[in-house]
């Protein structure tokens, strides 16, 4: 593996019964990069992420993270190696208040190990993390039950849960979906801060304008295959990508 390459995906294949979800996917991810994973609906973006994070086992191919092969490893083990992800459909623990939702990731063995075994008051730490993602401390939003929070806050909660694991690679699955332009504008600084801290990020997105403002590079998938890989502007110029998004007539 080249110096600075955090993740390498090589010749990944996945089929579910008769459906070929991913065909021969390969890409590298350098340390500190922000990669956008885009493509029309059903192109296999979430499947690719499921493969990397271990929720689904690949049919064939390799996934190497920091010189460790992680293909086929159990998801909780992959998280402990330093990869965290958010889910497209946010499903918090509805009957618990927002800050109690954070207890689960803070209880994780990885967090315990990194904190040297003594974390102190988990509730206080949870509130700190929530404040970082925009739960204003004065308004006591963090104490509200997750069932009454609007989508914007739920997405931030999901983000906070991933950040609390202190990962080196964060994968965000459609973080911007369901958010207003103002909410997106307020979340982007949080992502920038993560980048400054040296974290590597993969973002699956449909909202391309907002994504291209922050992404270094994009990988475009269509029907499970990679059709472009490079800086955003360059990738969007490719004929194949335009055909995939807009249809053959264009």
């Amino acid at each position: 593996m080249g110096a600075g390459t955090l993740l390498r995906v090589k010749s990944l294949f996945k089929n579910f019964g008769g459906i070929q979800a991913i065909t021969d996917l390969s890409f590298d991810l350098a340390q500190g990069e922000l990669l956008g994973l885009i493509g029309p609906n059903g192109s296999g973006k979430t499947t690719a992420v499921n493969l990397i994070t271990g929720f689904v086992k690949p049919s064939r191919g390799e996934i190497v993270y920091r010189d460790c092969s992680i293909a086929g490893l159990a998801p909780h083990k992959i998280v402990r190696l330093g990869i965290a992800r958010t889910f497209q459909m946010v499903k918090p623990f509805y009957h618990l208040p927002a800050y109690k939702n954070m207890i689960i990731p803070l209880y994780s063995p990885r967090v315990k190990k990194l904190a040297g075994g003594n974390y102190g008051d988990l509730d206080a730490v949870a509130l700190d993390y929530l404040e970082e993602v925009g739960f204003e401390r004065d308004s006591h939003v963090a104490f509200k039950s997750a069932s009454v929070l609007p989508q914007g806050y739920l997405k931030r909660l999901e983000l906070a849960k991933a950040i609390a694991l202190k990962p080196d690679l964060i994968i965000l699955d459609e973080l911007f979906s369901g958010l207003s332009l103002a909410e997106v504008a307020s979340i982007i600084p949080i992502i920038e801060k993560l980048r400054k801290e040296g974290k590597t990020i993969i973002m699956i997105e449909h909202r391309l304008k907002e994504l291209f403002r922050i992404a270094d590079r994009v990988v475009v998938l269509n029907y499970g295959q990679k059709i472009a890989d490079g800086p955003a502007a360059q990738a969007m110029q490719t004929a194949e990508v335009q055909k995939a998004y807009l249809g053959a007539e264009y």
Partner: protein
């Protein structure tokens, strides 16, 4: 002697298949757990008996009325119990299990056990093959098994309602968007499953006598067949019944009869460990269930 064992093993498989079909329909194909299945089986047998002996109805009529009654009971159970706990599979299991338990123990308590509580065979004749005696009832069961399975397969693959049954098991929400009323289809499915249980009882009970404790055995055997064969797969039911049927028969002949139940239970456990979706199961998300 081996030929005799073989022939009876085939019959055993047919019996298992007929027993399991109703359960496969509701649990495997429509995703509704009906743990009162064994109770329905026994209930319909007692009903036929009562119609026959107390109301002096002709035998075929007793069976028909009993099947209809069981189907109605299944529908009622769905409407007033299952509907309330739909979607929480564990509550479904507990609720139906509670009903089944109440029914079976009621019969046990009423003391309706004994040799006089039995149903007559449909055709009282036997055929002799070489040196094996084979009774018509068992042949009837085998024929019924084949017919029912073919019919069920056609039903679930080629009729609108049958496809709806499968739809609500796979993805209830999508089924709803297609205009499939999942509640009513669920009711039909439970009702039909109970009806099949009643039919199975009518065919199989004449081989012995009615005993409430058999209700649990029926439930377990139906479960075993469905799990090993794979929920929702009619082909799986066939293969699983053959496997278990033969295994039971061989164990009975060559080892001892007290081990037969253990064989089916052990087989079910092994399948659950190795390939949880069963031999022919198609529910992939169960496999990916790490």
């Amino acid at each position: 002697m081996f030929v005799g064992t073989f022939v009876y093993a085939v019959f055993n498989s047919a019996i298992l298949a007929v027993m399991a079909l109703g359960f496969n329909l509701t649990f495997g194909i429509s995703g509704v757990a009906n743990f009162a299945y064994g109770a329905m089986y026994i209930l319909s047998a007692y009903l036929s008996w009562m119609f026959l002996h107390f109301l002096n109805l002709p035998y075929w009529l007793s069976i028909c009325v009993s099947i209809c009654f069981t189907m109605a009971l299944g529908a009622l159970m769905y409407r007033y119990v299952l509907l309330r706990v739909r979607g929480q599979p564990l509550s479904e299991v507990i609720a139906t299990f509670g009903i089944g338990l109440a029914i079976l123990e009621l019969f046990q308590y009423m003391g309706l056990v004994g040799y006089e509580y039995s149903l007559p065979v449909l055709i009282d004749r036997s055929i002799v093959f070489g040196n094996i005696v084979v009774d018509m009832q068992r042949i009837l069961i085998t024929a019924a098994a084949v017919l029912l399975m073919a019919g069920l397969w056609a039903f679930t693959h080629h009729t609108k309602i049958g496809l709806a049954f499968r739809g609500i098991a796979q993805d209830e929400r999508t089924a709803l968007t297609f205009g499939i009323d999942s509640d009513r289809i669920g009711m039909f499915s439970v009702s039909l499953g109970c009806g099949l249980a009643a039919l199975a009882a009518a065919l199989i009970i004449p081989l012995g006598s009615i005993s409430p404790s058999d209700g649990y055995d029926v439930l377990i055997k139906a479960l075993a067949v469905c799990i090993i064969g794979g929920l929702g797969s009619t082909g799986g039911v066939i293969v699983a019944s053959v496997l278990i049927g033969f295994a039971e028969r061989l164990t009975d002949t060559y080892i001892s009869s007290s081990w037969t139940m253990i064989v089916s239970l052990a087989a079910m456990l092994v399948v659950l460990l190795v390939k949880p979706s069963g031999l022919f199961g198609r529910q992939k998300e169960l496999e990916e269930r790490i």
